[in-house]
């Protein structure tokens, strides 16, 4: 699983996927995740980074991340490696 590198993310949370032409809006934590994924951060490092930066416990974050990744996948922002 990897992020589509061409995804554009604005500072206000506007997201554009040139692959599909779709636009999205995301919140601060969503932006942080997308940027880190673009930078090549793996899931474990991402969890560590977010729990250090935001006031959240690991269990809740893991649950929320699972759901967020599912949505990224369904919007073709995240892509399965074999499809790359």
């Amino acid at each position: 699983m990897h992020i589509n590198k061409n995804i554009a993310i604005s500072e206000t949370g506007f997201v554009f996927n040139p692959l599909t032409g779709d636009s999205f809006s995301t919140n601060q934590v969503g932006q942080e995740i997308l940027r880190k994924l673009q930078g090549g951060t793996n899931q474990e490092e991402l969890l560590k980074h977010l729990t250090e930066k935001f006031n959240i416990d690991k269990t809740t974050l893991e649950k929320d991340m699972t759901d967020f990744m599912l949505m990224l996948n369904s919007y073709q922002i995240l892509m399965d490696d074999e499809k790359a």
Partner: protein, 452 residues
């Protein structure tokens, strides 16, 4: 280093194209207090879920309705519709404002008596009145609204040789130009049944014919139907005067006024399409006033409106049990209240507000209740701010029918709290416990013990 506040990550697809030309009303503003009492405190003190009723809203709504009618018509009497909400404290707020009681069963009748309503100020409606019920109503000199010929004949049998008189009216059903036409209750106007019933009653001197009653429907969105109904009752009253030289004491236009809840399938919000109480009052009173009664022979106008007087005063407080993602990508939020408590969720899109500060992000979601039953859907689709497990919500306009039609199904029923005029919350109905349920169960001896 201070950590940043967390909000669960969310990404929403932006769609352009089909726009709602009416715009959409947001429901995002948090509701953190009811009549000055913090929602969080109510939940801490009385639990979640919990029904909350505002005494102030009941009184304000009632006074406004009375003003609308009394400023247009000289003789008006409201009778509180017990079936809409028969919690004693609620009934007594209405009674303390001057409302009589309108009941549709002996259970409600006895409740009204126990609340202190004199029998002479109880209207006894409904199709199910046993011989014993009728005897009680005769004894108390209540107004008996006859629903069908079997009841009329039964009443006649009871009264024969009893030396007693009964104060009776008939319920009349009629075509008022709306669909569906409620013709299952009472005697039909158009086919002559109503007039036939009137003639039979006048043939029984032990029955004192005092009034005419109708109840044309519920959640009525047109006031014209009330004009038609009032006109047809006036027509009967005039003919009674002509044939029997009897002035009818009252015309009872029943209830059916809409509340501001939004019906499922309605494109516009309920509050934007319902007539005001003044609109209903104008339609009814102008019809009666213009019909031609002599001023001293004007009948008293009875009203039994329930929903429109109590819906706004009721709130349901609840909490988020869980959030999940459905297989089609939709967000699902599971609340600790469902259709067991919110029976009206079957026909209303209830307004639901978060009870805490929220962020600017919102998402579409379906709201489910806690029951392990597929029918337990509170809102099929609603856009709300991001909710998390443990967050509280406030459901609005739940005062009518929910606290009478609620189901003890899977879950037990919660406390009901009334916030008094001084802002003090009072428990007016305790929550149920396992003991509440087991009190009525009996175990046959051979089933008391078993080995597994």
């Amino acid at each position: 280093m201070t950590k940043l506040s967390y909000e669960r990550p969310v990404i929403t697809k932006l769609n352009t194209g089909t726009m709602n030309k009416f715009g959409t009303r947001t429901e995002y503003a948090p509701v953190t207090q009811i009549d000055g009492v913090p929602v969080k405190k109510l939940i801490a003190d009385y639990g979640s879920p919990c029904f909350v009723i505002s005494e102030r809203t009941i009184r304000d709504t009632y006074k406004n309705a009375v003003r609308a009618f009394k400023s247009r018509y000289p003789k008006v009497q409201f009778a509180w519709s017990y079936k809409t909400n028969y919690l004693n404290a609620v009934c007594n707020v209405f009674h303390s404002e001057g409302s009589w009681a309108e009941v549709v069963s002996i259970f409600e009748y006895e409740k009204a008596l126990k609340n202190g309503v004199p029998g002479t100020k109880i209207i006894f409606n409904g199709p199910d009145k046993t011989e014993s019920d009728l005897r009680t109503a005769i004894e108390n000199n209540s107004m008996i609204h006859i629903d069908h010929f079997d009841e009329l004949y039964q009443l006649s049998e009871i009264l024969q040789d009893s030396g007693k008189k009964a104060r009776v009216a008939i319920r009349v059903n009629m075509d008022t130009g709306i669909y569906p036409m409620w013709d299952r209750f009472g005697f039909n106007y158009e086919d002559g049944s109503a007039w036939s019933a009137i003639n039979k009653i006048f043939a029984h001197p032990e029955m004192d014919f005092v009034g005419l009653h109708c109840h044309i429907g519920t959640y009525m969105l047109t006031t014209n139907a009330y004009s038609v109904a009032a006109g047809k009752l006036c027509d009967l009253a005039f003919n009674i005067k002509q044939r029997y030289n009897k002035n009818i004491e009252y015309l009872d236009l029943g209830g059916g006024f809409a509340s501001a809840n939004t019906l499922k399938g309605s494109y516009l919000q309920g509050g934007d399409i319902i007539p005001s109480v003044d609109d209903y009052a104008e339609a009814i009173t102008s019809t009666i006033l213009n019909y031609g009664f002599k001023p001293d022979e004007l009948p008293t106008l009875f009203l039994e409106t329930g929903r429109a007087l109590i819906d706004d005063a009721g709130y349901l407080l609840g909490s988020v049990i869980a959030i999940k993602r459905l297989s089609d990508g939709r967000r699902a939020t599971i609340m600790n209240f469902g259709v067991n408590l919110l029976f009206t969720a079957f026909w209303y899109n209830h307004r639901i507000s978060p009870a805490q500060e929220i962020s600017a992000q919102t998402e579409d979601m379906v709201i489910y209740g806690p029951l392990c039953m597929n029918i337990d859907v509170v809102r099929e689709n609603i856009n709300l701010p991001l909710l998390n497990k443990g967050d509280n919500v406030v459901v609005h306009r739940v005062g009518a029918y929910n606290m009478t039609q609620w189901m003890q199904f899977i879950q037990m029923r919660p406390k009901v709290v009334m916030i008094g005029m001084d802002g003090t919350p009072h428990i007016i109905r305790e929550h149920e416990t396992l003991d509440t349920m087991l009190r009525y169960e009996k175990m046959p001896a051979h089933l008391k013990e078993f080995k597994l």
